[in-house]
Amino acid sequence: MNDKPIFVFLPACNEEKHIEEMVNQLKQLELNLKIYVIDDGSKDATGDIARKAGAVVVRHPVNLGQWAAMRTAFMISLMEGADVMVSVDADGQHNPRNLPKLVEPILEGNADIVIGSRFVEDKSPEMPRYRRAGIKLFNRLVEITTKKRLTDCTSGYKAYNMTTVSKILPNIRENQYGALEFIVEAVRQRARIIEKPIRSKNNAVSKKGKIEYGYNLLRTIFERIIHQGV
C-alpha cells in the first residue's frame, strides 16, 4: 500500500489567493503524493494558478458545491486505482504538514477514515461562535443517528481508505451536501473512523459558515434518517 501515491484533493472555488501556497506546501512533504485541484466553477484564476503550481486540475463547468467536488474526487481516485485519498480545504485554513498524521493510521491498517479534528486538542479553536455552535449541533445529530461520537464531523480535512469509500459511495443519495450522509453511511457499514488533532486558521470567508450550507446539511441528515427508517 505504501508504494502507491496518496491522492490529495483540494476542492476549490475562487481560491486564487491560497491555492498556490497550498499546492507548494503539499509538494514539500516527503510523501509520494499526487495533487489534484477540483476547480469548482471558479470565476478567478484558481485553475490556472494550481496547474502552474504543479497540480492536476479537474474543472467543474459550473459551481456544484463542496460535496459534489468531493464526489468527483472520489470518482477519479477510484478510476485511478488509488488506495488512500486525502481531502484538504483549499482556503488555507488547513495546514498541509498535518497530512502525514492523517494518512498514517490508514497506511498502518488501523482506520478507514481519519478526520482531522480542530476540537480534539483545542476546545474552542479560532472560528466564529455561530460556526462552532453549528458544528456541535451536527456532531450531536451524527451521534444520535449513529451512536458514534465525533468532535468535528464537518471537517474538510480527511483521509480515506478507498476500498471503504468504494463500498460507501454507491449508497450516498445526496449530490451536493453529502458530507454528513457519508459519515452516517460509513458508520452503518462499520468503517473504522477516528479523529486526529489538527490546528486550523480561522477563515472568515469559508463557504461552510453560510446558513444555506448548514440548512442543507441538516436537510440531508434528516432525509437520511427518514430514508433509513431509523
Partner: protein, 133 residues
C-alpha cells in the same frame, strides 16, 4: 352525548387498542416493504404518514371533532380554503421534488463532463509529462 356505560367504555378502549396495534403492524410492514425494495421512498413516506395518522386517531378519537366542520360542510368557505391549501401544498411539493431531481441530474452531468475532460487532457497533466520524461 351518547351514554356508553362501563361495558361500552371497556369495549371502546379495546377497539382503540386494537386499532393502534393494527396501525403499528401496518407501519412496520411499510418499513419492511421498503427495506426489501418493494416500495419506493415516496410511497413509503405516504404509507408511514397514513398509518401514523390512523394510530393517532385511534389513540385520541376526540381529534376527529376538528374535522367535523369540513366533513359536514357547515362552513363552505373554510372547506374551500382547506382543500385549496392542501392542493397548493401538493403542487409546491411536487415542484420541489422535480427541481431536486433536475438539480441532481445536472450535477451528475457536470461531474461527468469534468471527468471526461480530465481523461481527455490526461497526457497534458504535469505528472503524466513527468512520467514521459
Amino acid at each position: 352525548m351518547v351514554h356508553v356505560g362501563k361495558r361500552g367504555g371497556a369495549m371502546i378502549k379495546g377497539i382503540q387498542a386494537l386499532g393502534i396495534l393494527v396501525s403499528a403492524y401496518l407501519f412496520a410492514q411499510a418499513l419492511v416493504q421498503y427495506k426489501r425494495g418493494n416500495n419506493g421512498f415516496k410511497r413509503t413516506v405516504f404509507w408511514l404518514s397514513l398509518w401514523s395518522v390512523m394510530a393517532i386517531l385511534f389513540a385520541f378519537p376526540s381529534l376527529t371533532v376538528l374535522a367535523l366542520p369540513i366533513l359536514t360542510m357547515k362552513d363552505a368557505m373554510l372547506s374551500i380554503v382547506v382543500v385549496g391549501l392542501l392542493l397548493a401544498y401538493i403542487l409546491v411539493y411536487q415542484m420541489y421534488q422535480q427541481t431536486v431531481r433536475t438539480e441532481r441530474r445536472l450535477t451528475a452531468l457536470a461531474q461527468n463532463m469534468a471527468i471526461h475532460d480530465y481523461i481527455k487532457e490526461k497526457p497534458n497533466n504535469p505528472e503524466e509529462k513527468d512520467d514521459e520524461r
